[in-house]
Amino acid sequence: MAMEGIFGEAVDRIGGEPISARMARRAPIRHLDPTLLVVTLLLSIYGVVMVQSATASNQSAAGLDPNAFFSRQAMFLLVGAIVLIGVSFVDYRFFAGFASVVYGATVGALILVLTPLGTLRSGATRWIDLGPMEVQPSEFAKVGVIVALAAYLALRKGDVRARDVAACVVLVAIPSGLIYVQPDLGSMMVFVALLGALLLSGGAKIRHFLFLGLCGFVGIVVVLQMGLLKDYQLQRLTSFLDPDPDVRSVGYNLTQSKIAIGSGGMRGKGLGGENTQTSLDYVPEQHTDFIFTAVGEQLGFLGSATLLAMFVFLLWRALRIAVMSRDLFGTLLASGIVGLWAFQIFVNVGMTMGIMPITGIPLPFISYGGSSLITNYIAVGLLLNIHMRRFL
């Protein structure tokens, strides 16, 4: 293989053979990043436990199976694990060739949601009912768009021009536009973050960012001026600045969430603790978007900080893989995934603590939900894939 020449100087003193040649001969599995796998697993277990703890008491209070959410999330975990293995076995570069297919499928699924096939739930059509599981295409779209953008930018080989930036913006605009219509403002913002992360590592110039920033600013002004955002969306986005504790207002969630986290204190009130904000159902959506409040209340600062530390570790592994990648496509994929996770974690956790607007963004690996969990497992699969094949 052509690789030998590049690492030609690096010679194994004992074997007298180039390292790359020796490495390449081995199966990719030998270059697995086990720590990434371990932290993924630990996060998932943390998540499953929290889902159980956040739902059990309300389920039993309603006379329902207290383990319902737990067992479904565990099942999603199993599916995720299988998907992870599948994704990591196929060489990631293979996906680059099919980037247009991936992108097409992503956009197709997002269109499908808007047809009568989509399921309407709490005022938004975000799901497609597949019998055993409701699929949320906007979750999968996140990875789909990363793959597509990474493939496109990898072809530019770091030489990104204004035209390319424009193309990327269009590539992102189509799926995010479809998601905006659902409506799902939060997920839409994730795509903007992905675009930023990929352009950054893809080689966009500072002036591109400045121009995009200006466009974004103008865009926001226009959106506000034309009243394109619905009142409730605007309220949700701004209420964190001055939350109104009234039950009927959107600030209520936030107020209750802060109370829950704050009252957790250093050690927390214990998993499944009785008479907590969580068990008494004061925080809405506490097993999905607001699951961090359950973490904060039940496990306290020690538990929450541990969770955040695990996220930091996860992101460090991903950034490391971005640097170690054999090629630009791998680097871009990894940095896109970093952007995806970092943005979601920051916005989600920040929202529960009142420093970010309220948006419907799940906390990776922790929030209840199959689509989100499986999507994140695909992302981990891709990272493992890049790491395993860094010599190939």
């Binding site: 990898a154 054999r326 190939l392």
Partner: protein, 666 residues
Amino acid sequence: MVSNYGQPPHASAGIDRMKLRIGVLGILVIVAFVALFSRLWFLQVLASEEYEELAQENRVRYVYSEPSRGRILDRHGKVLVRNRFSLSATINKQIVDEPRERRVVLRRLSKVLDVPVRDLRRRLDDVTVSPYKPVAVANDISENDATYLSIHQERFPGVATELLPVRHYPHRDTAAHVLGYVGEISPDELKQDHFKGARPSYGPGDLVGKEGVEYYYDRFLRGKPQIEKVIVNSSSDVVTTEIQQVEDPGLDLVLSLDLGIQKVTEKALLAGLRAARGADYAAPAGAVVVMDPTDGAVIAMASYPDYDPSILADGLTNKEYAFLGARTPDDPDDDALLNRAVQITRPPGSTFKVVTAGAALATGIAETYSRFECAGAAVYPPQGGSGSVTFHNWTSAYRGYIGFPESLEHSCNTFYYELGWRMEDAFGASNGDGSERFQKYARRAGLGHETGLDVRYEADGVVPDLAWLEDYCEGIESAGCDLGWLPGYTVNMSTGQGDMIVTPLQMAVTYGAIANGGHVMRPRLGWELTTPLDDGASASIRTFKRNVVTELPLEDAEIAAIRQGLQAVVTGSQGTAVSAFSGFPLDRFPIAGKTGTAQLDEATDKNDAWFISYGPVGQPRYVVAVLVQEAGHGGTSAAPIARQVWEGIFGVDNKTDVRLGVDASG
């Protein structure tokens, strides 16, 4: 696996640039997490306590269920006050907190309940009620209205209907002043010693007795509320409850009052006032006390004008308030809430002569056989000014030298002026040794200080002496004050005029001591505390004992001399109350007493009429003290009322109403 994507990033010159770009991404991540960690530290470590408090407030509610307040019974177990439930409309001020919203709700409520907005608003804005509890704005609403309110809940935010316990008075205004009324404890009351140190302690919103025995015995009547600690979830559904304190109903209070005699007494007072008004006296108000001299038990206590406490039990409407609070706001005498038996002080007039006589006998100024001149006037040396001072009897007739019994029978003023003068000469602050033994005797006899009756407030009265004068003159620059204590003050006091003022109850105690052989009793209304048993009977928890305050320093013979005079007032040929008791079976029910006519104003003929009596003379069981304000002479207006009370007590059949007597005495 060769493709365009296989190009390694390191191949280009951008190897460092790529690391730089990833580094920028990494820095962004670090910044984001630093923000998250610091916020987490703030919430969970720095501000944790504050949030834990908020969480507590969220989920913990304490539910108080008012205990049933004890009943109040008369000495025969007849119910004077009990509880009933009122279907009431309440407004939660915390929900309707906006003035505009409040206006709208009140207007709608007014229309449904047919109650003026003003009345609803007055109740709602009542500062004495707790801002945390729903305020009852209308009591005894119909079930139809209650149903309407609950069906149209959305039009009446904050409005609820509740069954609230309210005090019920089966005998309406009977004994209203004695019973008092209940209301929410005021911030001022919370600070009073009376409400301090109770267990459980009093708190805002508590219903407490405001007057009378309701106030005095509140601790026993109130009971203990059930306190339930309730954990609620976000939908305010109760998750768990834990009873922290079990309800303990209040004790029943048995009064020494006799409902039958009370009713007779109130009726007699009203009839007497009407009769006096018929004779062109103003007679705006009056009071009667019936007391057992053997143990100080108050058997009846009437005060007019009176009121129906049930209108206070559920808060006052504007109209009711206007009625109670002085129709003539400048005149405190017009206050229906005043218990005139203990809360007003007036000069006792000639009824005080019993005290003067007692003091003279006790101090040795006179003996039982002593005789003094009863002239039309007596002249005493100059009193500060030039020239001597003349004190007149109520009649110019000269009766010669008379003894104690006659002096009381005729109510001879000059006889008592002489006693007063002599006592001043011996013990007075100006002429005598300054020991003021006359005044000391008067205090010992129960005047000039509270009798200790178990009600909220009792007037002290005044027994004037040098200390009182100095206190009175404090800061006043006048010729009178500069002169200090004048002997004439003592002379004037000896007939119960001038600055000497008393309450009707004090006079009842003083006469009780003459009737019972010298024991000055502490009067009382509370008899016993009981708790109802399941079988309808009741168990006694505590009985209140007879309490002798002091003994009069009189020999039996001295008391006998006074008694003889008092009996002659009713039976003697010259007695000032003879006409009032004409036709009364004095042979079967011998009564003794003394009339009094207190001059309110020397210029006009405005007099308060007094009659204090006891009987049956051989073995006194009752003291009846009557005061009628601005109603002429004691024998004219007061004695006839007492007569009717006595008829009621002894069951003497009498179809006639109160007729005024004939009395010209002073």
